[in-house]
Symmetry: C2
Subunit: 492 residues, 2 copies
C-alpha cells in the first residue's frame, strides 16, 4: 500500500472520494457521471439486495422487469412527474450507426431516427402504470405488489460516486390498491421496512418522517423519508416511500371494479432505495484508516493472517490447522478468509484489511502457537486482545454481534450529540455553521419560509418527523405560530 | 380460464406466443421490441440466476457493474466488433427535454446535445476492457474473473418474447489471463458450466461445439456454443463462450508485466446466457395444455387443492391439516402452495396449474379423507395416482426427482430421433423439410459452401461438435473432402 487517505478533519469530501476508490468499492468510468462498481463494493451491494429482497418477498411483493425505455409521451402524462424529470434525462433518438463516408469511423445514421424519442428510465411509474392498466380489472386483482431491481439514469451535472451518479442501481416498488387507506398503509409499511434494514444492517439510525410539499417526489401526494446523519454533520436521504394517491391511475386510466360492480381509480405507492446507501454506509462509520463495515454486510467478516518469516515457515501448517479449527467452530455462515499469500508482509496485509473494513482480524505466529494464544483485533475500535486459542471461536462470534451493535450505538450517540433544539434564527445559523447536524425547530408550514431559510443557510427541511411531539411554538424564521418542530439540516 | 391455447400441431409459433402470455410469463410492452417479464416468468428467471450465480462464484468469478452506456468511439476500436453491433443499437444523443413552445408537451432540447453520442450497451467488451486497462498491471493481477448481470439492447427488427427482444437480460462474464492456454481453458470451462446447467436444471440436452468463422461473435477468435433442439425440430443457440484472443487487449492497450518484467498483451474470454433460455425452456418441454416446468426451476413445485363444496365445507380444516402434514414431511426446500381460494372451482384451478406447469398437483376431498388416500397428478405425463396419505411425502419427493429426469430423457429421446446422418444434398433438403432436427453431414470447411447451403435451405451450421468423430467423407454440398461431420439445422 502507498500513502494513507486524507484525514476526515482535513477534508471530509476528499477523504470520502479517496476512500471509495482506495478501498476498491467503485471508480469513475469513461462515461461522464457513470460509475464502475468494483467487485468488493458490489459484494456489499449484493448483500444489501439479498436482505431487502427477502424482506420484500416476506411482505408479499413479487419481482418483475419492465422496459429500460419510456416513450417520451408517457412522461408527459403526469404533469408534476414530467416537470420533475424532463430536465435531466438521457434521450434515445436513433437506432443505428453507419460507417462515415470519409472513413473516419461510425456516425449516427440519420435514416434511423425514431418516430418518438425514448427516455432511459429515470424511474418507472409511467411505463409500469401503462402496464398495470391491462393487469387490473377487478378488486380481485388488488392489491398488486410489484418490485423491480433496475438501473436508472438521471443526467446529474455534479456527480459523486454512489451519492449522485448519472446511472445508479436501485429497487423500485410499485403497488396498486383498492382503497386510500391500504395504499397509505403500504407506503408506511415499506418506510418501516427500510428503517429497520438501515438500523439493523447498515447500523445507521434514521429519522422517519414526511417530506414537505416542495420536497415531495414528482407525482406523489405524500413522500415518506428516512434521514441519516453523516459524521460531518450533514444529512443524507437514505430511502423514500411515496403515497401516489390516484395521480398515476388517472394519468393512465387504471380503474378496477369493486364487489358492487362500481368502477374506481386505484390507489398507488412507489418506494425505492439505491446504491446511494453505499455512500451512507461509508460516510456514517468509516475512519481515517479506511472502511468500518457492519459485520452483517461485510463481504469478509473475519480474516486470518499467519505471522511467519523464512525462519519460522515450517510452523505454517500448524498455524493453518489452528485457523481451520477456528473456522469450523464458527460454522458455515461466517464469511472467513485465510490470507496465506507469502508475497506480502503482514503489516501490509493489516493495513489493507483495515482499509477494507474487515470487522475481525486474527493473527497467529509461532510464539502464539507455543503459548496456545491468538491475537484478535477488531476494526471498529482498533482494539487488540490476546486470548486462548480454545476460546477464539466463541469470542469471534460474540465480537461480530458486539461490533454490529457498537457501530450502531456510536452512530446514534453522534446523532444525539448533533441534534439541537433551536428557537431563534441566529442560533439556528450558528449551530449550522459551528456544530452542524440536525436542528429541531418550529416552522410556520409555508413554502415561502422553507425557501427563505434554504436561501439564507443552505439548510433544508429534511422531514416532519412521524413521531414529532405536538407543542405550541413560533416559527424560527417568521415567528408565526407552529404546533411541532421539524427537522432541518444541510444535506447531501 | 377462457379457451385453450392453439395446439402445437396447428401452429407451433402461435402456440408459443400464446403460451408465453397466457402462462403469465411475459408480454409485449408499449416500447417496440421490449418485453415486460411478469412475476411468474421472472420467478423462473430468478431461479436460473441464483443457480448460475452460485456456479460462477464457485469457479472463482466475482460480480461487478459497468456502465449502461458506451461512448461511440469505443465501439469502433475493435473492427469486427463495431461491424457486428453498429447496425442495431440504441443511440443516446441528448440529455434533456424541454417544454415545447406551442405548449404541446415536451420536446428534445437541441441545446442539450451530447458531444459524443452514447450507445446503450449491446454487450460490454469495450467499456470493460477500457476499465481493465487500469486494473491490470502485473501477472499478480491475473487471472481477472469478472461477471455482470445486466440488461443489454440490440435493436432487432423482428422480435419475439424471450427469443429475440430489443432489450434483454443476461449475464456477461469477462476474464483476462496471462496465457492463451489459460484463456482457452476458461472459455471451455464456462461452456461446460453452461451445458451442465442446461442439462441438469433446464433439462435440455445440448450439443457443445465450435461456431464456424462466419458465425463467431464479433471480435472473437473462437466461439463455443451450446445448441438445443426444440420440439418443432428447430435448433436454438442457448449460450456462448468466446475466446477473444488478444483482440480487445490490443484495441484497448491492456498489457501486463510478467515475472521477468516483460510486457505482454493479456488474453481474454467473454461468455453469456440470457433470458433467451426462458424461450428454450418453454419450447423444449411444454405441451398443448401449457407449460411443463422442470421441478428444479419451477416457482411452485407442488400445489395442493382441497376438493370441497358447500355441503362438505366443514371438512376443509381436516383437509388443510393433512396438506400441512405433507408439507412438513417434504421439508422447507420444497416450494409448496396450498390453494384454498374458495372463489374458484377446482376444475378451473387444475387447468390453471397445468397451464403454469406446476410439476405435482395434490387433490384431497372428503372421500379421500375417509379412505386415508390422496390423489397425486404429475404435470409432465398428466398421470394421476391415488396413494395412502402416509406415503404422500415420500412419493412426492421421489416424483420431483423423477419428473426432472423424465423431462430430460424425453427431450433427449426427441433429439436422438431427430438427429440424422446425411450424405447427399437431396436427402439433406428432404430431411430438413420432412423431419427437421439436427443433421450431421460432411462440410468442406469453406464459408462459400456454408453460405450456399444456407441460401438453398435456410439451414446453418449450428456448430462443429467438440466430440465430433474423425472420419473421412465428402462435403454434402461440394463433394470436396472433409474429415468430420458438422451439425446443421434450421434455427431460431
Amino acid at each position: 500500500m502507498s500513502k494513507g487517505i486524507t484525514p476526515r478533519s482535513e477534508d471530509y469530501s476528499k477523504w470520502y472520494n479517496e476512500l471509495v476508490v482506495r478501498a476498491d468499492l467503485a471508480e469513475h468510468s469513461a462515461v461522464r457521471g457513470c460509475m464502475v462498481i468494483k467487485p468488493y463494493g458490489f459484494a456489499i451491494w449484493e448483500k444489501m439486495k439479498e436482505v431487502l429482497d427477502a424482506r420484500f418477498k416476506a411482505t408479499g411483493h413479487q419481482n418483475a422487469a419492465f422496459p429500460l425505455f419510456i416513450p417520451k409521451s408517457f412522461l408527459s402524462k403526469e404533469a408534476d412527474h414530467v416537470e420533475g424529470f424532463a430536465k435531466e434525462c438521457a434521450v434515445v433518438t436513433h437506432y443505428r450507426l453507419k460507417n462515415a463516408e470519409d472513413g473516419s469511423g461510425v456516425v449516427v445514421d440519420p435514416d434511423a431516427k425514431l418516430e418518438e424519442e425514448l427516455i432511459v428510465r429515470p424511474t418507472s411509474e409511467t411505463i409500469i402504470w401503462n402496464t398495470f392498466k391491462t393487469w387490473i380489472r377487478s378488486h380481485r386483482d388488488l392489491p398488486l405488489l410489484i418490485n423491480q431491481w433496475a438501473n436508472v439514469v438521471r443526467w446529474e451535472m455534479r456527480t459523486r460516486l454512489f451519492l449522485r451518479t448519472a446511472e445508479f442501481f436501485w429497487q423500485e416498488g410499485h403497488t396498486a390498491h383498492a382503497t386510500k387507506e391500504e395504499a397509505v398503509a403500504e407506503a408506511e409499511l415499506m418506510l418501516k421496512e427500510y428503517a429497520d434494514f438501515m438500523e439493523n444492517y447498515l447500523a445507521i439510525p434514521v429519522i422517519k418522517g414526511y417530506k414537505t410539499a416542495s420536497e415531495r417526489f414528482a407525482g406523489a401526494d405524500e413522500t415518506y423519508t428516512t434521514e441519516g446523519l453523516m459524521q460531518d454533520g450533514k444529512a443524507l436521504q437514505m430511502g423514500t416511500s411515496h403515497f401516489l394517491g390516484q395521480n398515476f391511475a388517472k394519468a393512465f386510466d387504471v380503474k378496477y371494479q369493486n364487489a358492487n360492480n362500481e368502477e374506481n381509480y386505484v390507489w398507488a405507492t412507489s418506494w425505492g432505495v439505491s446504491t446511494r446507501m453505499m455512500g451512507a454506509l461509508i460516510m456514517a462509520h468509516s475512519d481515517d484508516k479506511g472502511l468500518v463495515l457492519p459485520p452483517r454486510l461485510a463481504p469478509i467478516q473475519v480474516v486470518a493472517v499467519p505471522i511467519v518469516n523464512k525462519k519460522t515457515i515450517d510452523r505454517l501448517d500448524d498455524i493453518r490447522a489452528v485457523f481451520d479449527k477456528i473456522q469450523s467452530g464458527l460454522g458455515g455462515d461466517v464469511r472467513f478468509k485465510l490470507d496465506d499469500d507469502d508475497s506480502k508482509r503482514s503489516g501490509f496485509k493489516f493495513a489493507e484489511y483495515e482499509l477494507r473494513g474487515v470487522p475481525v482480524r486474527l493473527a497467529l505466529g509461532p510464539r502464539d502457537l507455543d503459548n496456545g494464544t491468538i491475537e484478535i483485533a477488531r476494526r471498529d475500535t482498533l482494539e487488540k486482545m490476546v486470548i486462548p486459542i480454545d476460546e477464539a471461536a466463541d469470542k469471534i462470534t460474540a465480537l461480530l454481534a458486539e461490533i454490529q451493535q457498537s457501530i450502531y450505538d456510536k452512530a446514534l450517540a453522534h446523532r444525539e450529540a448533533h441534534t439541537t433544539k433551536v428557537d431563534d434564527f441566529d442560533t439556528f445559523k450558528q449551530v449550522l455553521d459551528e456544530k452542524g447536524g440536525f436542528i429541531l425547530a418550529h416552522w410556520d408550514g409555508t413554502a415561502e419560509t422553507e425557501e427563505a431559510i434554504k436561501k439564507a443557510t443552505k439548510a433544508t427541511i429534511r422531514c416532519i418527523p412521524i413521531d414529532a411531539i405536538e407543542e405550541a411554538g413560533s416559527c424560527v424564521f417568521s415567528g408565526k405560530p407552529s404546533n411541532k418542530r421539524v427537522l432541518f439540516a444541510r444535506a447531501y
